[in-house]
């Protein structure tokens, strides 16, 4: 498979056997660089640098993990949703997130890893998920704030990923972004209903925005001068914009939306800067961000415990499905296994 893949990307390069391997590597690297420079998509069977593969596995897996851990803070309110319409919307959203997790694990698997392996890394803390999901959902309004701010930040991050150099990831992002935009509008609409509701509902909405604003800004990652992977990812066209650029874009989008919601953003330094044509905003508390990343956020332990427990308590179900499939495939005359058994018997 590797040979066939190499042929495709290396184009006219002739494969001369093992002795030529070193020269071939250079040719593959040149072909890869040229493909990235020409904005062509890299596909699973194409040759790619090992570091590019490893970066993508890390990023896509972290993205997939974020989708499934991200189900928890919202699912926390499914059984308490205050109207049947809102309950249906929230259930559909959490279901979409499980679906996004599935697309993204599939995209990661095209790079030669497996879902089981990635889940194991999540459960043992060797791979991360988005820091935002370590904050608790304390009121119903948090469901709206997550939709508006957290999904809004996610979309700002993810829309450029639709043009990412790795084909399976880019295509997954096209599907994910469509659904996320829908969730974001629903979150905004939920907050608007609260903001225009009773004084208690308005206060609930404001409190939620106060608590989710800064963690949402942290979703864009550390400032550009401290971002370890940024330069290489941008060179590979995995990333298209820097963390700070995207964060600024997000702030500029949110300010007028907050105004039409009738809610304030909890930042006294937030103001329009005429010269820059952008908003200035206050300093982010990076020490909090680092603590959350280190596992010391409000819900880190709870989130991983729930995920691990679901996985462990479900082991007997997965084992049953595998055992049943194995029995069934032996019984099924069309299956490969039984053809092999038949061949041995003959």
């Amino acid at each position: 498979m590797a040979t066939a893949a190499a042929h495709r990307t290396a184009g006219t390069q002739r494969y001369d056997g093992r002795e030529a391997a070193e020269g071939e590597q250079d040719a593959y690297q040149r072909a890869f660089d040229a493909a990235v420079a020409a904005d062509e998509r890299i596909e699973p069977r194409d040759w790619m640098p090992e570091a590019y593969r490893a970066t993508l596995v890390r990023q896509i897996a972290q993205h997939a993990h974020s989708e499934i851990i991200g189900m928890q803070p919202e699912a926390n309110w499914i059984t308490r949703a205050p109207s049947l319409r809102r309950k249906a919307i929230l259930m559909a959203k959490v279901q979409d997130e499980a679906g996004h997790g599935l697309y993204l694990y599939s995209a990661a698997e095209t790079l030669g890893t497996g879902r089981e392996e990635l889940l194991d890394k999540l459960h043992t803390g060797r791979q991360k998920y988005s820091s935002i999901f370590n904050y608790p959902t304390l009121t119903w309004a948090d469901v709206g704030a997550i939709g508006w701010l957290v999904d809004g930040a996610a979309i700002t991050n993810q829309v450029p990923l639709c043009r990412c150099s790795y084909g399976p990831y880019a295509r997954a992002m096209v599907r994910v972004c469509k659904e996320e935009s829908f969730h974001q509008r629903q979150g905004y609409e939920l907050l608007l209903a609260l903001s225009r509701g009773t004084p208690e509902q308005h206060a609930m909405a404001q409190d939620a925005v106060d608590r989710w604003w800064w963690p949402s800004l942290m979703m864009f990652g550390p400032p550009d001068d401290e971002s370890a992977h940024s330069a290489q990812s941008m060179a590979w066209k995995i990333k298209r914009h820097s963390n700070d650029e995207l964060r600024q874009r997000f702030v500029d989008i949110c300010v007028p939306q907050a105004e039409s919601l009738g809610l304030t953003l909890p930042d006294p330094d937030l103001k329009w800067n005429e010269d820059r044509g952008q908003h200035d905003f206050g300093a982010i508390d990076w020490s909090e961000f680092k603590e959350v990343l280190k596992g010391n956020g409000p819900c880190n332990e709870q989130r991983i415990t729930q995920r691990t427990r679901a996985h462990e308590e479900g082991a007997w179900v997965r084992e049953a499905a595998a055992a049943h499939a194995a029995k069934h495939s032996r019984e099924n005359p069309e299956s490969r296994e039984s053809r092999e058994t038949g061949a041995q018997q003959a």
Binding site: I68, M71, Q72, A75, I78, T79, R80, A81, P82, S83, L84, R85, R86, K87, A88, M91, A92, V94, Q95, A98, G99, G101, L102, Y105, W140, L190, A193, L194, G197, T198, E200, Q201, Q306, R309, A310, H311, E313, G314, A315, W316, V317, R318, E319, A320, A321, A323, H324, A325, K327
Partner: protein, 240 residues
């Protein structure tokens, strides 16, 4: 006038079944044994919630009916309010109920009456729910020794709640007792293919068959309603 009242009775009974089971399935979200089941259980829960909203709206305001009635006014079967238990209990509950719902909606969809339109749409959804439950019953029953034993226990534990499904409900437009024979045959066949025996013992609730339909529920139901209704009741008159 009498016809309308009877339609309301039936709409509440069928709507409460769907509402309560949907809620129970919603409790699985974030806890399922595999990601595909997060999607599948949520999907079934959403279908049921959709059915519940249509049915409750036939009888009144959906949110008033869901959030402001007390336990004694709910008309759902005791079967659907049973706690999720392990995955086998959830699947056994799905098998028993989706087989019933499929037989019922299949019949209502071809008849005339207030539920024909709903049944024509719902029967397609419920066919999927039934297929999902049947496949998992087979996987668990005919999987490992552990899964076989768990599935056996789950089917036995919920058996006593199944008789209630065939008690008459005013206004439903069909004789529910007629569904009992095909239900027994279908469930028995699925269990047989799964290597499980059809449970023995009475099929009536602890009080009497039909108790849930009379507003007599099991203890876990009150706590489920407390959670479901808490926020709505805390803000009287608010819109969401």
């Amino acid at each position: 006038m009498t016809t309308t009242a009877h339609t309301d009775t039936a709409a509440l009974a069928l709507g409460d079944d769907a509402l309560v089971l949907s809620h129970r399935l919603g409790e699985w979200m974030g806890h399922a044994p595999v990601l595909e089941e997060e999607v599948a259980l949520a999907n079934i829960a959403l279908d049921l919630l959709g059915q519940a909203r249509i049915l409750l709206s036939m009888a009144g305001d959906e949110d008033e009916l869901a959030y402001l009635r007390e336990e004694r006014a709910f008309r759902n079967l005791q079967l659907v309010e049973q706690p999720n238990g392990d995955f086998a209990h959830t699947i056994a509950r799905q098998l028993y109920f989706s087989t019933y719902q499929h037989l019922l909606y299949d019949r209502l969809a071809t008849g005339v009456g207030p539920f024909t339109g709903l049944a024509a749409k719902a029967v397609k959804e419920v066919a999927y729910h039934r297929d999902h439950a049947e496949q998992w019953t087979r996987r668990l029953g005919d999987g490992t020794e552990v899964s076989h034993e768990r599935m056996r226990q789950a089917c036995a534990a919920l058996w006593r709640f199944t008789g209630e499904m065939f008690q008459p409900v005013e206004g439903v437009g069909t004789d529910l007792a007629d569904l009992e024979a095909p239900w027994l045959e279908s469930v028995g066949a699925v269990l047989g293919r799964a290597g499980l025996e059809t449970p023995e013992g009475p099929r009536a609730g602890a009080w009497r068959a039909g108790a849930g339909r009379q507003g007599l529920h099991t203890e876990p139901f009150g706590r489920m309603l407390a959670e479901m209704q808490h926020l709505h009741r805390s803000h009287p008159g608010a819109s969401w």
